[in-house]
């Protein structure tokens, strides 16, 4: 028997409430190292809250969350050295150029100068940003800015990457480009937790799909397993079936999703 590698993410009994609204009500989730897990859920189901807690941005009210074995509440600095986060808000400096933005990250990760330049040049190449390298981020198109955003996340060589709705608002070409980058990332050994509204995105990228509803997981399986279990042709059908349960729960934006 082989030794089980440390999971990328281990969440147990995670709870979070805002005022009298319970967002996470005992969430359990494990992301095995080297895999992609897509976290699905209606608007307001707690996907971003989960990512924020794991990314050390937000304290949980209860339960535990570990990233590569490090507790996010007790060892936030250790966790911060292992993760990369691309949130919903654009996290680039609009006044700096593409190269300057990437070098800012390299400097903050204390990469030696030569190594920082090499990695910056690599990422510019890999993300097809060479023509724009000297342009200020505010002059880039939405798709390119998103690519820069993800490239900045990767400068420090994160082992666990959080992508919170990374392709929202992108055109199909830009989405496919970004998917390729995520696949390359996993091929290099990183683990990914992805939240998304696009179920085809989950189908394309994820080894496992977790559906968040009512503050807990209502399903956690491979995309194929989920479709088979629900006798559904697409993840859309699975999603609609799962999130239609228990309409009194906190995941109340069902109309918007069903639309």
């Amino acid at each position: 028997m082989s030794i089980t590698p440390t999971p990328a993410i281990e969440v147990a009994g995670l709870r979070k409430r805002y005022g009298d609204q319970t967002v996470l009500d005992g969430l359990d989730l494990t992301v095995p190292a080297g895999t992609v897990t897509a976290l699905l859920g209606s608007n307001g189901a707690g996907k971003t809250t989960t990512v924020s807690i794991l990314a050390t941005l937000l304290p949980a009210d209860g339960g535990t969350a570990r990233v590569l074995g490090h507790d996010v509440a007790r060892e936030p600095q250790a966790v911060r050295r292992l993760i990369g986060v691309t949130g919903q808000l654009s996290a680039v400096d609009p006044l700096l150029t593409v190269t300057e933005n990437l070098r800012l990250m390299a400097d903050l990760f204390h990469l030696p100068r030569v190594e920082g330049r090499r990695r910056t040049a690599d990422l510019v190449e890999r993300f097809d940003l060479a023509d724009a390298a000297r342009r200020q981020a505010q002059q880039l198109s939405g798709g390119m800015r998103r690519k820069l955003d993800l490239a900045m996340t990767l400068v420090g060589g994160p082992q666990v990457v959080f992508l919170d709705e990374p392709t929202t608002g992108l055109d199909p070409r830009a989405r496919h480009d970004l998917w390729d980058q995520v696949r390359a990332l996993v091929a290099d050994g990183a683990s990914v937790l992805l939240t998304t509204q696009y179920l085809d995105e989950a189908d394309q990228l994820a080894d496992h799909v977790a559906v968040l509803h009512g503050g807990r997981l209502v399903a956690h399986d491979t995309p194929a397993g989920l479709k088979a279990a629900h006798d559904a042709g697409s993840l859309d059908d699975v999603f609609l079936a799962l999130t239609a349960l228990d309409q009194t729960g906190p995941g109340h934006d069902l109309k918007e999703v069903a639309r």
């Binding site: 986060v85 996290a91 680039v92 204390h110 200020q136 082992q159």
Partner: protein
Amino acid sequence: MIATAAPTPVRIPAAPSGLARAAGDLATMTRRSLLRMVRNPSMTVLLVSTPVVLLLLFVYVFGGAFGAGLGSGVTPGADGRAAYLDYITPAVLVMTAASIAQSTAIGVAMDMTGGIVTRLRTMPVASVAVLGGHVVGAVVQTLMAAAAVLGVAVLLGFRPGADAFGWLGLAGFFTLFALMLTWLSVAMGAAARSVESASNTPMILLLLPFFGSGFVPVDTMPTPARLFAEHQPFTPVIETVRDLLAGGPVAATTAATAVAWCVALTLLGWLWARAAYRRPRA
């Protein structure tokens, strides 16, 4: 340690320790702040032109009459204008710092509400480096702007009497004062719930010089206003700048009071800014 079946935590990549890391990060964030200033020069021009307009307005519109009220022997008109220019130049320098403080608060609030600071908060970067980058950048901007405004005052006929030692003292004192205003404005920006409120709170820093010895002598004010003016921090600051510029003897008690205010408020601003930065936001 309790033995558990849990897999071992993954080793963290090596990184420089505490102080060296914070200093490096501060340098990096300061570079970013200065680069942003270079990329957006119209902001600096605007920040210098506001106090220059104020200076021209007060000297050429109000100065002829106000100057005559400064003391006996000053006649209205050109004589009054010259006397008033001498009197308000220190206050206009202080206003320059205050107007940059307002723009700093707005810049910090924009940073905090945008994605970049969220990214930095998920990275092993000390809060003091993120905020300190804004502070050092803004202090540099303040000193450059104050020098430019002082240059305009000299063109209008202001003649500082300070010697080399006095200039050194002025530079040191003004840097301390700018540091105080900047930490306060960074805190206001970091604590603001929106960019709009971040632009409103620092208005108090722009108003306080008027309720002090900046534009009129405090002994011309009615008692309640005078008591406030004598005991608020801007008055000893303006008086100290005035003494240092004039090259005359510096009133020791006033200067000590000014330094004490600056140190205390710098500390308050730093603690407030740090707490605001650490406040969790989703």
